[in-house]
Assembly symmetry: C5
């Protein structure tokens, strides 16, 4: 599992006037897809529109309208939305700058929220991060995504088939539902990470290799990345819950508190994973030391037993004239016995030292 | 002592509408057990009911009613309670989701508290974690547990036999008593951990082995787990104490402050255990280094003494023609003496270096 | 210097109704000693009473009364005090539970303070920790200690001989004086620790041994223990200073601020000791590495010089027929010279590498 | 990439009366350059003035005036500005003392801001830090820089050609634009650092050398330096955003919040770089251990195989009389076979131990 | 550079009544020197007085009076000041107790400030710490120092020659000037430390020795010591700035804010020195590992090349009868060639492994 980091060059914008609309992110060539869902408790319609202008009449209707834009590379579309819904130029800039930090801002007439939607792609085993911006106005929610494909399918289903309370609630509940879907998806990522952590932990105890170290390092980087996405989320959801904007109904507040609780839980889990991983590094390092120790012991035992013996053999390999032992009848067996005694003494010594 | 981690798949719920009741936790097949205790200062009745509806008439009576549900897998029972006591759907969701973080919430008409009940099972030497949810309404306390078996037996006894002040106090005191029983049980766990820490510490000084490292690692994980349960408890009890809900009488407040003090004490102990364990790791690592050092010294002493001596023997093992020493009468003894001198000199050198 | 840890089994109480009076601490058989000191600016009396009831008449008098109870194992004594002075049952519980965390609580009619009195016992070189509970009522101070023997002797002297302003001040000044005496005694402990730290530091530089590591570890545990007693003290004294209870006169406030300053100073010192000790551990570990390095160098030098020389000797120890060098007249001296050259070259190499 | 640290001797000033104007920083001999830009929505003029007095008449006009001073070594110029615009002597001191910490101060009639302008110089691959002080008065902005050359060129362009909204806004927007340009430039530095971090990370995995360690150390110092500049920036921008000075229009506030968001993002990035770099150090150290381990293994394998074999050869090199094996016909081949068996046994042992 | 730690025995005071005047610090025998400076914008007088009573008449005059006492060992002098200026007994105690923590207290009629004056003594290369206590009353400043010699000479000069605004301002400005002089002097210390840090860093890269480790340790202790003096300073200056005492004029506030900024800057520098030093320790430890690695490599190369060769030589040194190779004509040269091939093969292997 790796993180697909996108090269986000914030520096491209350095020096440009604020509010200049420049799309910072992967350039795409596919067409921007705009989908419109409009519903009341009774009615429901859903369609893909070619032109953003088709959505504008819905602004005035009392029904709840959800405009979803997949793709940020058609700046004129974003500009048109901005003009029609009277959005502050800085908001448009933030929507386009996909290196944005998750945040929540209250512009009185509408609320603006930026989040990171993480998703796990099985095909290339990586965490995909995508920026989602939400505008919550009166009876309208506009969501901006970097590309087609999201975690909102079940929400669409709930709207289509009037499942749960979503059709009975106001626009803020829809915004909540979108945020909740994004946050819930973090748990999926966390479970994958949890499995990885357990896998590495097991490997660490059975057969730690140099690859294990790289895996530990890899998971550490992923946790760092997750943490950077998750901590601002806490502030965001906390602000949302405490907001006094009339756009947020009282009935929605407990739901927002629930999302807040979830982010706390995610942070808790990320932090305890971090603790576990750093514990694993300690284990790894000391298991290296332990193995080194084992290697050293073998070397020492062999060397310290045989070096003195070889010395004794060396002595009787000397060519001196007057070496009486060499002439003795039992000289050779005696030397062999002496060697055996020396060797066994050493073995006993090592046994006592608990090196064997 | 190990932690029995239950696979809690929060991700199962990702995308479902909020308030959807799905039981997240170990699936059980046994019947849900519902017990009802109803008491005033004078009267008392206790019974196991088959059907949750039997409890509902007690809602209106001025007597204090404690409904305890053991088992969360019959969703319809939870739903009925929710409808009858007008609980928010998110509360029902939280009760069923056993991966919940301990928390306290004020819904005006009732207070909602989620806790982790830890208990030490002697049979398999593990810490068992179970989620307990409490609803405190007017004259009524409803408690939800994951399974039969809890730490409340003494409270039931106190109610049965009118021990202490419990029968004279209101429902909030009962809720306090339940929370207090759970928190008090943490001390039992801490004492077991304390014994383990002391045991490992002793082992570390007398004979550290590779198993010691694994034990240190194990206890570290357990402390991590405890910590994750205990820190939110602090916030929970602090909120409880500071609450201005009319459901909490002034007379109960000092008791809640007492629980708060206990959680602080638990946190203190967990944190100092953590400090101790991390100190133990340092000791372990440096004792490995020390032993390595000892091994190296022996190797060095043996090798540095015998390698030069073997070299001398090697010289006189050469087959050159003109080696006058070989012909000397005292050649052999002289060489032996020279070797002894070299060896002893080295020993003295090592003695001085304090390697012996 | 070691800490005499008393086995304090909080778990004994798990499940009992709150306010149940159980003495948690070392069981003692000696009689509880009750001393009574009663004074006004003019008068003074001091006596040891057998029966706590003898003290009760003093409650109503305008003179200042100090009742000191040495020993907590006679529960009925504590109960009688509780009833007579109308103390909350939780206070009595806290007084008896000697594993209490230092804290300060305001019960309107009286203030309740729990502290740890540390004292250094020369006879067995250990820090003794004893719990002291103080009740400050109108014109009365009741102090509870675990055993006979305390740091209050000088205060008694000041009262007896009307030294300082103590006889002119109200009961809160007496309570302050007791707390101040306890806090001041922490400095004595800190100085002992300071001496130890300096001693170990010196040892570390001159001759670090494995025992040094154990001493560092020991002092670390002691600092951990001190820290756990000292940090809550800060909160306690801060609460005391900021209290708005009418029991604390304005004239006493600067003195309380002074105690607060002292606790800050104690914390500062404990924290910098901790920093110093952790620095010492680093030094220790790297001095081990350094020594290992030195050992390795000697081994390497000896081995790398003699192994090649032994090899040369080995060559001319071979028994081949056609080895012309063996027949040469100057063969032997030439080989010796070659060996010397090889050896010296290596020495020069090591010199350059700064290994010698 | 290195940091060009300028020797800033704050100590030069120790003891001087506050408000004494001493330029602390690199002494320069070039002339101080003063540029004046004055504009309304319709008009615009820009000129370089020789004498600061030429700028003073613009103070009274309703048009917006930007006075930029490049060079701090002409103290009299600074003094004249101070007198004319009635600046507090401490402000003048702060402007001249280029070792200032970034800060924002509200002097009612004007706002004072000090920042560090970081820029990356390609010619010598280093980060250049320069102090920029801003005075925001009614319709006037005065900026002080240490030297010619800045990151404001694009702002001048926007004013010249009336790009964006700058010509329509008040002086506070100009001040914001200057701060924003400086903050935006931090992203450029961060990207360079990011590239370096990635480069080192790659090197670390493919071929870590001792130089890698020095690079890690170097980048760590740079991050330390950045951090010291960036953290006060957060406070500064936060103060700016929350200021209630009438000099800051409501319309400018969202822009200031935007700058604040950027500084948070910069801090986040710096902190995660720090985490990554410290992770890299761990990897480096354990890769050293791993390589040491590999070296040790080779030594051990060679030594433990050949030392016993050499010993066997040594035995049959002895010159004893009665060594029957020497006379055996198959003695030599048998010994060779024994040696091979010993060697192969050891190889199998190492294989099993996973040392090969 | 070392810290001259004075043995300050706070424990001497344990148990004494608060307000007991005991001088804690180095005992001195020299006479206490009292200097008096009295000035208005027009007049100025300065003299050394023998008797503190001579200063008392100046208390009533509208001119600003600065009484400076060098030496704390004449308790009666301090007592007289206390009585005359109606100082709280705890203040007198704090002045005499030179182990005081820097702090600021508001006693309504006067403000009390304790600081540490650090100065660098060239003669013995050490940081000298001295406690300075300041009393700011109406039109009067009293300063207490431990010994003759301070950093106030330039302030006296400014008063004498009416330099700067000091003669025009009120007494609080004088107090500010004294504090500012002390704080400014910290920068001198920091620069010395900075030089040391750079020196050690250089040494670390070129030739790290065991002494380097001790220097790192030494500088770490010094930073610890500085930190302990500097952090309370922050609180002190922050309190001073925010005080609402009528003794502090509004005109002085910006100056106090300036001092506060300086202390923040000092803290920043101390903290980044700490970070640098801890980074240096890492470098040191890994350079030790690196060198160990290098030593091991040489040993391994020499040993692994020659051990097998020696074994071959050993084989042909055996005295077996039937060793056909020994009889071969080219036996000897062939063996030499085999040896060379083995040796060169190994060298190539090491080359590939990048050990050479």
């Amino acid at each position: 599992m790796t993180i697909k980091r996108k090269a986000k060059k914030h520096s491209k914008k350095a020096g440009l006037p604020p509010g200049t609309l420049v799309h910072i992110g992967e350039k795409k060539t596919e067409k921007v897809r705009i989908t419109l869902i409009d519903y009341t408790e009774q009615d429901f319609q859903e369609r893909t529109v070619d032109n953003i202008e088709e959505c504008f009449p819905f602004k005035e209707t009392p029904s709840i309208t959800w405009i979803n834009i997949d793709g940020l590379h058609q700046i004129e579309t974003i500009e048109k939305i901005g003009r029609h819904f009277e959005l502050h130029p800085l908001i448009l800039e933030d929507i386009l700058n996909t290196g944005q930090r998750p945040k929540h801002e209250d512009y009185e007439k509408y609320l603006f929220t930026v989040l990171k939607m993480l998703s796990y792609r099985d095909e290339n085993q990586c965490i995909q991060s995508e920026q989602v911006s939400l505008i919550l106005g009166k009876n309208v929610v506009i969501s901006f995504q970097e590309a087609v494909g999201d975690v909102f399918e079940q929400i669409r289903d709930r709207i289509r088939h009037a499942k749960g309370r979503i059709r009975k609630m106001s626009a803020d509940y829809l915004a909540y539902a979108l945020i909740d879907a994004i946050v819930d998806n973090y748990f999926v990522i966390l479970e994958r990470l949890g499995e990885q952590v357990e896998f590495i932990e097991e490997e660490l105890i059975t057969k730690p290799t140099e690859k294990t170290l790289q895996q530990i390092h890899g998971i550490k980087q992923e946790l760092l990345f997750l943490r950077k996405s998750v901590w601002p989320l806490r502030e965001l959801t906390s602000n949302l819950e405490k907001t006094e904007s009339p756009l947020i109904m009282d009935a929605t507040k407990p739901y927002l508190r629930d999302v807040y609780d979830h982010t706390i839980q995610i942070i808790d889990t990320v932090e305890s994973f971090r603790d576990m991983v750093s514990g694993m590094l300690d284990i790894y390092l000391s298991s290296i030391s332990n193995r080194m120790n084992a290697v050293m012991k073998v070397l020492t035992i062999i060397a310290t037993i045989f070096i003195p013996l070889t010395f004794i053999a060396g002595i009787y390999g000397m060519n001196f004239k007057g070496m009486p032992e060499l002439e003795w009848k039992w000289g050779y067996p005696i030397v062999l016995i002496v060697m055996a005694v020396v060797g066994i003494t050493m073995l006993i010594y090592f046994k006592r030292k608990k090196w064997l």
